[in-house]
Symmetry: C2
Subunit: 151 residues, 2 copies
DNA sequence: TTTCGTGCAAACCCTTTGCATTTGC
DNA sequence: GCAAATGCAAAGGGTTTGCACGAAA
């Protein structure tokens, strides 16, 4: 469920972008990091820590989920992935370089509708002008009910 | 910290509004519920489960936090309180009857700026028209950095 | 070889649940 | 008196941490 709305492709085929950027920052190249990064880059859209773990473990059984969390921590610090709270205590990750987008999360059917990054330009501008607040709209998820569910 | 932006008052002084509404729904009146509801209604703005618990326990030592969670569950079901995720894995509660508002959360200093419920009317309308999505904007928190922090 | 990264297990935080007891009505 | 609410303690889910071992540079 909730994946039929993800129509975003991977137009950007530089090999292991995130991985090479980690390496350039002086971090070591390990098979685990390589697989974790691959899972993130191959995900159609956003992917949770558990999903990354599942993907990696299906290749190498001996990977531990704490390594996934530690790698995500690194990637976040370096600004290479963006974290989005999609509700239900679930946090998802997305490579920053793939472009930002926003989420409309239907609390009835669980569908996630993606909006491109320009969708909230007006909102952002309003908040800046009125409140001097620089909204970090890489992270925005709005909850509600979708077209199908509020018929 | 983060409380200096809460300048909202309790203009609505009917005695124990939430409590009487619970009673009208057939639920029993207990000292625990009364204290929990009081803590919510007296909070300047939004209050977490732990904060409610702390407030109640300071009066009657024998209250248990599970009772707080169970009462919040009831109040949510009845639509008497609104739940807002202010980040940091912490969820806050607010009496629905006090009027809705939105939050700008500064991830640098932790300040929470309140916006009144009309602030996102345009946004809501845009989402409805463009996507048929009925945004539930009782819950909205936007993260970013505030005027003081992005000087 | 030496520092960094990993696996493992245990701890963590917040929230939920099962069950026996107490309480409101 | 009886159903509903509570306290307690234990479990749950997702995430983090300490530590000794293993692997990258």
């Amino acid at each position: 469920m909730s994946d039929h709305n993800h129509i975003q492709q991977n137009h950007n085929h530089e090999h292991s972008g995130l991985l090479s950027q980690l390496a350039e920052s002086g971090y070591r190249m390990t098979p685990q990091r390589s697989m974790i990064v691959e899972a993130i880059e191959n995900s159609s859209n956003h992917i949770s820590a558990e999903e990354i773990y599942a993907s990696v473990v299906s290749k190498y059984r001996h990977v531990n989920i704490s390594t996934v969390y530690r790698t995500l921590e690194l990637l976040k610090e370096k600004g290479l992935v963006t974290e989005t709270n999609l509700g239900n205590g679930r946090v998802s990750y997305h490579p920053t370089g793939k472009g930002q987008h926003h989420h409309l999360v239907c609390h009835k059917c669980g569908a996630i509708i993606d909006l491109d990054e320009t969708a909230f330009i007006d909102l952002k501008e309003m908040l800046r002008k009125k409140y001097g607040f620089l909204a970090d709209l890489k992270h925005l998820a709005i909850f509600g009910s979708c077209l199908k569910c509020n018929s």
